[in-house]
Amino acid sequence: MTDPVTDHARALGILARCDAARLKAFAEPLIARLGEIQVLENRTGLVMLPMRDTAQGTHFHLGEVLMSEAHIAASGTEGFGMRRGRDLEAAMAMAVVDACLATGQATAPVRSFLDTEARHLAEADRDRLCQVEATRVNMETF
C-alpha cells in the first residue's frame, strides 16, 4: 500500500518538473470535470532557498528562485501548482491536475500521465548521469 503523502509528493514533484506543453495539453480537457473553479492565486513570486553549511551546520539563504504559483478551489477541495519560471498557465495546469487527484476525477488518465512523465524525467537524469560517470577519475599514488 502506497503512503498517500508520499504518493502526493511524488505526483506534485513530477507535475512541477514535467514538460510544460504536455502538461497544459493534458490539463485542458480536465477543467470541465471540476465544475466551477475558483482561482485563489495565480501569480509569480519568489521562493527563498536556504542551505546547511557543512563547516558549522548553520542554515543560511542561498538566494531566491522565481516560481509560478496557482491555487484553486473546486469540487469541495483545492488544487495547487508551483513550478520554476514565469509560466502561469503551466502552474494552473498543475493545480487542475492536483485537484483532479484530490477529488478522484480522471484517476486512471492522471496516473498514466504521471507515469509517462516520470519515465521521461528519469531517462533524462539517467542520460545525464551516464555522461557524468564518463568523467570519473581514479587516482593512484606512486
Binding site: F60, V65, R136
Partner: protein, 354 residues
C-alpha cells in the same frame, strides 16, 4: 551652500541612453533565448550575484544591458523587489544534491570517488579562430558510460568527522523565515554566520576572488586546500497547502569546502552560491576559513570582505564619483587658493626688525 543647475539635462540623458542602446540594436525574444542557450556560465554567475534564480530573466538582463554585468545585477535585484515571497523552502543539504561534479584536492579516495563533471580545467586554451573565417565549431559529444553515476554523494566533511579529523557541527534547528536574511535586516558586525554566508553567496565574483586570492597568497592566516568542490542541482522543497512537502523543481548550485590544519583537527571554510561558479565559492570559502581572528582592516576580516564584495553597493559607490561634485570640489580649490595666497603674503611680508 550652493547648487549647480543643469540645462538641457533631460534631453541629454534621454539621448545618452539611446546612444548606449543604439550599439545593441533591438532586443528580441530570439536574442534572449540565444543568450540563455549560449552563455550558461555567465547566466549562472549573474543569477548568483543577483541572488535571483531564473535563466530567462538573467538572459534578458544581459541582453538589455549589453553585457554590463553591474547594470544587469542591479536590474535583477530591482526586479526582485517587485515580487512577493511565496515560501521559504526546506534547507538544502550537500549530500542531497544531484551531483554533476565533485572533486577533492585533499583526499584522493573520498567516498563516492572523484568525478570531474563539466570543466575546462584540463583543456588546451586555443581560440577557435576558424569560426571567424566562416567555419562552425561543434564540440565533440560526450561518450557516456554504460552505467550512471550515483545521483547523490556523501559529504566529505561527514566522512572526516566519522574519522575524527574534525568535529561534526550541531544541527541548526532554525528554518523558514527565522533564518537571518540580509535582504530584510541590516548586516551588523560581528556578523551572524547566516548573514556572512548569504552575503558571500550573493557577492560579486571579481571582488571575492581578489580578496580570496590575497588570503591564498599569504595575506591570511590559513592556507586552503580544497576539501570538496561540488557542482550540483538542489531540489526546491516547498509545502502544499494541505501540508505535503514536494520538490517544485531544481536549481544549479556550487559548494566549496576548504580545509587547513587547526591544532589537532582540521578547520573548514565553506561557501555556496546559486549557479555554477566554482572560482567564487573556492575564494569565498578561503575567506570564511581565514575570518576567525583576522586583524581589523585586513582582507580576511569579515567586515572588510563583506562590505567590499557587495557588487551593487561597491559599483554604485564607484560610479557616484563621476556624478557632479562641482560645489564640493570648488570648495577644495578655494581652500587651496586661500592657502597659496596666505603663503605668498607671508613671503612678501618683510621680517620685523630685531
Amino acid at each position: 551652500m550652493a547648487y549647480v543647475a543643469t540645462r538641457g539635462g533631460e534631453r541629454a540623458i534621454e539621448q545618452s541612453q539611446r546612444l548606449y542602446r543604439a550599439e545593441m540594436g533591438a532586443i528580441t525574444p530570439e536574442r534572449v533565448a540565444e543568450t540563455r542557450r549560449a552563455l550558461p556560465y555567465l547566466i549562472d554567475r549573474l543569477m548568483g550575484e543577483a541572488s535571483l534564480y531564473d535563466e530567462d530573466l538573467a538572459a534578458l538582463a544581459l541582453a538589455q544591458t549589453g553585457g554590463e554585468l553591474y547594470e544587469a545585477v542591479l536590474l535583477l535585484r530591482a526586479w526582485r523587489t517587485t515580487q512577493p515571497r511565496l515560501q521559504v523552502a526546506d534547507p538544502v543539504t550537500q549530500d542531497s544534491l544531484l551531483t554533476h561534479r565533485r572533486i577533492s584536492a585533499a583526499f584522493k579516495d573520498i567516498p563516492g570517488g572523484q568525478i570531474l563533471g563539466p570543466t575546462l580545467d584540463y583543456s588546451h586554451r586555443i581560440l577557435e579562430t576558424a569560426v571567424l573565417s566562416g567555419e562552425t565549431h561543434s564540440p565533440d559529444p560526450v561518450t557516456p558510460a554504460d552505467t550512471p553515476a550515483p545521483a547523490q554523494h556523501p559529504s566529505v566533511a561527514a566522512w572526516q568527522a566519522d574519522n575524527d579529523l574534525l568535529t561534526a557541527p550541531e544541527p541548526d534547528r532554525t528554518t523558514g523565515n527565522d533564518i537571518p536574511d540580509v535582504t530584510r535586516e541590516p548586516l551588523l558586525f560581528p556578523a551572524k554566520r547566516a548573514h556572512t554566508l548569504q552575503s558571500l553567496a550573493r557577492a560579486e565574483t571579481g571582488g571575492v576572488l581578489a580578496l580570496g586570492y590575497a588570503a591564498q597568497r599569504g595575506y591570511g592566516q590559513a592556507h586552503p586546500t580544497v576539501n570538496e568542490l561540488r557542482l550540483g542541482e538542489a531540489e526546491i522543497q516547498v509545502r502544499h497547502p494541505r501540508g505535503t512537502m514536494f520538490s517544485a523543481g531544481r536549481v544549479k548550485i556550487s559548494t566549496a569546502e576548504v580545509v587547513s590544519k587547526q591544532g589537532a583537527e582540521l578547520g573548514l571554510g565553506f561557501s555556496a552560491t546559486l549557479g555554477w561558479n566554482e572560482v567564487k565559492v573556492i575564494a569565498a570559502a578561503t575567506l570564511d576559513l581565514n575570518a576567525d581572528g583576522a586583524e581589523k582592516g585586513s582582507p580576511t576580516e569579515e567586515e572588510f570582505f563583506l562590505y567590499h564584495t557587495e557588487g551593487v553597493e561597491s559599483s554604485g559607490f564607484c560610479n557616484h564619483f563621476k556624478l557632479p561634485h562641482y560645489v564640493t570640489f570648488q570648495s577644495s580649490l578655494d581652500a587651496m587658493r586661500d592657502a597659496k595666497a596666505k603663503k605668498a603674503q607671508q613671503t612678501r611680508t618683510p621680517e620685523p626688525a630685531e
